[in-house]
Structure formats: C-alpha cells, structure tokens
Symmetry: C2
Subunit: 243 residues, 2 copies
C-alpha cells in the first residue's frame, strides 16, 4: 500500500493535480498536513479530473507526527547534498531506484511532498525514513509540485497499477515467415519492374535493413506484400497484352 | 535536438507548465499550433517558473503543416488501439521505449501534444511519424496535459539534460574495509556488554544482513563504529573502576 502526503500546500490546484495523478497511477490514499481550503467549486476539484469523485473527497487531514509515526516515509526533494557529510538529504534515491527498492517490501509506504516554494524543511526531512530526488537540469532542477508528484507516482506504477490501458502487446511484430514472404514478393517485384539484375541483391539488402529496423506488424507486412504483388501483376498483365 | 509542440491548447496555464517542465529537463524549443493568448501577466507566465524568462517568450506559433513537414514527429496519446487492425494509434511506444529508440538517431524530433479534452484528432495523428503512449491505470488513463508532457520529457532526459543537480554519486557506499572495521567493532561491543558468547555469532550475522541491505555510507559506517567503540570503552572503564 502506497499513500501520498502533501505538507502545507499553498495552492488548492496542486492538491487537485496530485489527486488526479494518483488516480491515473492507481493510488487512492491522500493525506494532507495543513492543507489549504479545498472548495468543492474551486481549483482543487477543478484540476482533479475523475479523482474529484473519490481520491480528493476521501483525502484525510493528518498531522506531520502521524505521518512520521505510522508510515515508512519517503521524502521527495529537488535538493540533495553534495556529499555524505550531512544525512538530512543524503544518500538519496532517484524515483526509478525507489520503485526498485520498494518492489520486494511489504510496508505502509507514504511518499511525502513539501511546499511549492521551499519543499520540506530540514527538520521535517530529518524525521522521514528515506530521501527521493528527481534528476533534472542542474540549472533549474526545481519542478512544480504537481509535476514532481506525477513523475514519482509514474515511476511507482509497477507497484500500484494493476492493469494499464495498453493492449497486451503495444507493438506486435509480424511473424518471421510473413516477413520473409514480403521479402520474396519484393524480389519478384524488382524482377517485374525491370530493376537491373546485378542491382537486385543490393536493393533487397537495403529493403531487409529498412524493414529490420522498423519491426513491421502483421498488417503492415500483409499490406506491403499486397501492394508489391499488385504492382508486379499489373506490369505482367500489361506486358502480356503487349505480346 | 528535441522540440515540443502543443496543438490547440485551451488553457494558458498548461502551456506555462509545459514550458517549465521543458526547462527542468533541458529542452528549449516550444512550438504552438493555435495557442490561447499568452498574457505576460496571466497563468501561462505564472505557471512557467524560470521558463518565463526564455522558453515561454521564445515560443513560436506555427502551423500543423509546418510540424508535419519539418520534424520527425512523435504523437502523444493516452488512447491506443486494441490491436494492429488500424494504424492511426498502433503500434505505439511507451515514453521509456521512445527514449531508447531516439538515443542512436540524429534527427529534428518534435514531441507533439494535443488538446486538454480530446488530445490529437485521428486526422492529425495520421500525419505524424510515430505514436507514444504513457502506461497508466486502465480505469482512468487520461492524464492532465501538463502532467503527460512532464512524464515524456522526464523520460527523454538522458537525451536532453547535460548535467543534473545530483552529486556524482547519489549514494556513496563505504569501502569494504571500513564496513569490516565496523563489524569487528560490533563484535568487540558484543563481548564488552556481556552478550552471551554462544549467541554472538548469530547477532553478528543479523547485523551483517542489516548493514548489507542498507549499503552504509562512509560517514554512517564511521559514526556507528564510533558509537559502538564508545559504548565498549565506557563499559570497560566502569568495570576497571569496579575492580
């Protein structure tokens, strides 16, 4: 079970955005420490998408003490220390490393996000169990609160999303015999259009490399084969007529 | 070079959010097709963070034709087909697969995002070169536009971020000799505090497993060793006094 906590958010819109991302990535428990007022007609609900029906109205207001005492807490911060001389923000994991490290652990995890401007304070960070930081451009690594939360939840998706919206295979490659059939038809096509015999092996290698990189689907393979066959037959028919 | 295009956005705030995420992940060229008005005192600039100084004011208004003709275009959509029977939204890559596939290619890439409610139309999708889709909860896979863009740009970071804000090593493990020194001191500590001799090997194995999983830093290792030494010495001194 992975929960999300937001400490002292200023902007209701950010709370709504986080609620929506939680629903997008299969999380449901939202904990708020010192939240802004969440008006049902305001920005929090406006930004929450379908999470306005469950995640947001079910959000619970809790104390920071409650978080620290009841959960395995992961503090999210853009700022990490330069080295190990302090343990407030070091060592830290990236979100991908966090996902890997939580994969084998049964725990009540709470991912904790701080204020829009200043994040979590050092005193708050010192009470949380682990630090997570998103790698970003050194010149401007501070993400918007809602964006930071979205990335962390996205990275945790293997732990929280039971079934995603994609078909079982997002890219189903044609079977090899179908692809070879296309290559054979391509060879016949080269002959029919009168491509010089000595150049045909090179053209076939070119086409093999091109298709090889594209990993054609079954339908792409059938359609391309049909088009080359049609061209060959058209040429053959015209030539038969001419004879 | 990777650019970002937003087609027919309704909400200036989303354009600002995308500009900020672009700067967070090292991108700079923002292209807008039929954008809303971007008032310098409005939400676009309000949401852009430091990108209000460069990415957002440098954004260019272009036509959809210009995108399709000038870039290797990647269409981002939450909705993919169930199978290969149509090629409007199939095959698709996940953002991570997209990053991998672009790693070896020199191209003017443009990642294209659509409208808040309906995304890109089928006619628009049909003109773009490749499809990318974020895996999310099947029950509610439609992310907010700004969140979707942030995740895709985050996944492309290895191609766009020259240097991130993290120290070279986000988690510097102590060298093995230092860790072994801690284990030896722990052994002496067990003796000093009078932990039963027959139980000491088991306690040392327990401590080896615990430390092994935690990958202690040099500083953690030194501090823990110092604390066990201090405890041992305190006990020894008291016992010397008693004698």
């Amino acid at each position: 079970m992975i929960s999300v906590a937001v400490v002292d958010a200023e902007t209701p819109g950010n709370v709504g955005t986080i609620a929506r991302s939680m629903k997008n990535f299969g999380l449901s428990e939202l904990l708020l420490v010192d939240p802004p007022e969440l008006d049902p007609d305001g920005e929090a609900y406006g930004f929450a998408g379908q999470a306005r029906e469950d995640v947001l109205p079910n959000a619970r207001e809790v104390s920071f003490d409650h978080l620290a005492e009841s959960y395995y807490t992961v503090a999210c911060t853009a700022t990490t220390n330069e080295d190990a001389s302090s343990h407030v923000r070091y060592p830290a994991k990236t979100p991908a490393e966090l996902a890997d490290s939580l994969a084998g652990v049964e725990a009540d995890v709470c991912v904790v996000f701080g204020r829009e401007r200043v994040g979590l304070t050092n005193d708050e960070l010192a009470r949380l169990d682990e630090v997570c930081s998103i790698p970003a451009n050194a010149d401007y690594p501070v993400l918007n609160l809602g964006q930071a939360a979205t990335i962390v939840l996205y990275e945790l998706r293997d732990l929280t999303v039971e079934r995603d919206q994609h078909p079982a295979d997002l890219h189903e490659r044609a079977d090899e015999r179908a692809v070879e059939g296309l290559h054979e038809e391509f060879g016949s096509f080269l002959t029919a259009i009168g491509h010089p015999e000595e150049k045909r092996p090179k053209a076939r290698r070119m086409f093999r490399r091109l298709l090889g990189r594209a990993h054609p689907t079954g339908r792409e393979t059938r359609t391309m084969r049909g088009l080359f066959r049609r061209a060959r037959q058209r040429v053959e028919r015209i030539e038969d007529g001419e004879n």
